[in-house]
């Protein structure tokens, strides 16, 4: 029973990791850009939800309804300006630029909101949980986040496989130049992919704020987990990212069960083992998306 609880808690947190990571995976798959500011964007979304949306008289619980679309828009604009400029220069510039962005964001947040931890206020809901057996508690918030993660990944998968725009995204991910030759404006497609990445990570950032506390520096460690989820699951496979996130979450919970200090270590060990045995990831393919 105790092990069942460990697995359940791991799956719950794994859903969050997958939600956090799917945008990273998409950005890498389509733009071939590793967005080192990915985690910080989530944190910014958290701060916007906590400090800015109350001005609009929107309860913090519902803040994502406003924040997510805004971040999608921001993602499109940032891609078409800053990131596209660095892609045009050379691929390594994107690493420097997104890393720089990450540093700027962290320090701006520290300057404006201090290093205090914040969380998204969801009232009583935070303490409520489903208690199916003696020692198993399933937090409603975590369960909700897992459900949202599965829904987002499912919708994203449908979008990519069934819609014209999704098809274009896959075409550009496969071969940017050939897509251009077929008449596709790849910069616009890049913008759409970035918009999806920013929107989903904003959602993840708010979800994080509901589950626990965040501070200006929370982006980095979550980015690491997102990387691990993507690599364990296999780059370019959305369901792989979900499985990767869950595998990472379960490994962390197993580690934590023995000693709380082993939590992150256990996740990293799983990550290294997967890299050593199956470098393309559990569900990875040789090439990109869906």
């Amino acid at each position: 029973m105790i092990w069942l609880n460990v697995v359940i808690q791991g799956v719950l947190i794994g859903g969050f990791y997958a939600l956090f990571a799917c945008g990273l995976s998409l950005m890498f798959g389509v733009l071939k850009v590793i967005n080192l500011a990915h985690g910080d964007i989530a944190v910014v979304a958290g701060y916007v939800a906590v400090f800015l949306t109350p001005h609009l008289h929107i309860p913090e619980v519902w803040s994502f309804l406003v924040v997510v679309p805004i971040f999608g828009l921001v993602g499109y604009v940032v891609q078409r300006t800053l990131i596209q400029k660095s892609i045009d220069r050379d691929p390594f510039t994107t690493l420097l630029v997104t890393f720089g962005l990450s540093v700027v964001i962290e320090n701006l947040l520290l300057e404006i909101y201090s290093a205090n931890g914040q969380s998204v206020n969801i009232g009583d809901l935070i303490a409520k949980s489903w208690h199916p057996a003696s020692i198993i508690y399933v937090s409603y918030v975590s369960l909700g986040v897992l459900a949202v993660a599965v829904a987002v990944l499912g919708l994203l998968q449908l979008f990519l496989s069934r819609t014209g725009t999704g098809r274009l995204i896959r075409a550009v991910a496969d071969d940017r130049e050939a897509a251009q030759l077929s008449g596709a404006n790849y910069r616009h497609i890049f913008g759409i992919a970035a918009a999806i990445a920013f929107a989903t990570v904003a959602l993840a950032g708010i979800a994080y704020g509901m589950m626990t506390q965040f501070a200006p520096t929370s982006g980095g460690v979550n980015l690491l987990f997102a990387f691990e989820a993507v690599v364990i699951g296999g780059i370019g496979s959305l369901w792989g990212t979900l499985i990767g996130g869950i595998a990472l979450g379960v490994a962390q919970q197993f580690g934590a069960h023995f000693n709380p200090e082993y939590q992150i270590l256990a996740g990293n060990v799983l990550f290294l083992v997967v890299l050593a045995i199956r470098p393309q990831g559990l569900f990875g393919r040789r090439t990109a998306l869906a």
């Binding site: 098809r167 274009l168 496969d174 071969d175 897509a179 251009q180 030759l181 077929s182 998306l289």
Partner: protein, 247 residues
């Protein structure tokens, strides 16, 4: 007014000259072959027409409009189709999806029209039975056909074919040239780079020979192949009559 007009196009990569004063015109329904040794600048010429690389100087007019500032995507939409020498299908998509992307983006069609256009291109190139196969699983012949089908799906007015017969068997080449000949009757102008000269001669009515970025011969295929300029290019002659001593 010519359909496609290149005026005095020049391009250098460092010291390597891939284009020097290239000038030629193309009319609707023309079929022009381009031959020349490796490194003559044939593929670079296509890349300049399709917009992948920008010429250092000169003008490219399509249907009377200067297209030098247009992106490759806009040129594709305007009616310039191109196939790659080494086929580059969208490997993780089906054959039909490959053509569909081109029909929607290149030809700016929607809904049923896109489906008809894409399916028509697949039927024309004999790929219809493979429509639902992953493009990455195709053989070389079918990859080459898919390059052609994808270019056709953009509803081109000019089709730039880059060594589409290379690496194929005689029988396969014959099938392909039959398809290409049928395009001309639709009014599509074809420019075809090819080392398989025999295939070219069955299809084109005009031949250009390119060497070191210079058009050394342009005219009726047989007389071009017989010309001294082309002979000296292929037999290793370095001195070309069309180039002055200081160039």
């Amino acid at each position: 007014m010519s359909l496609l007009q290149l005026e005095d196009i020049s391009k250098k990569f460092g010291q390597v000259v891939v284009g020097e004063g290239i000038t030629f015109q193309l009319e609707q329904g023309d079929a022009v072959g381009i031959v020349g040794p490796n490194g003559a600048g044939k593929t670079s010429l296509f890349a300049m027409i399709s917009g992948d690389i920008a010429p250092d100087s000169g003008a490219i007019l399509f249907d009377g409009h200067n297209i030098a500032h247009l992106s490759p995507a806009k040129r594709a939409r305007a009616g310039i189709g191109r196939t790659y020498q080494v086929p580059r299908p969208f490997e993780n998509m089906t054959v039909f999806e490959n053509a569909l992307v081109a029909a929607q983006q290149g030809a700016r069609t929607r809904g049923q029209k896109s489906y008809d256009l894409a399916l028509g291109a697949l039927e024309r190139t004999g790929l219809a039975p493979f429509a639902n196969r992953q493009a990455g699983s195709l053989t070389l012949l079918h990859r080459k056909r898919l390059e052609l089908a994808r270019a056709l799906s953009t509803a081109p007015r000019v089709l730039l074919l880059d060594e589409i017969a290379g690496g194929l068997t005689d029988l396969e080449v014959n099938e392909l040239t039959a398809i290409i000949r049928s395009l001309r009757s639709d009014g599509i102008a074809v420019v075809w780079i090819e080392h398989v000269v025999r295939a070219l001669l069955t299809t084109v009515e005009r031949l250009l020979c390119l060497a070191s970025g210079v058009v050394v011969a342009d005219g009726e295929p047989k007389s071009v192949l017989a010309s001294d300029a082309v002979r000296s290019v292929y037999l290793g002659g370095r001195v070309l009559e069309t180039r002055g001593p200081n160039e």
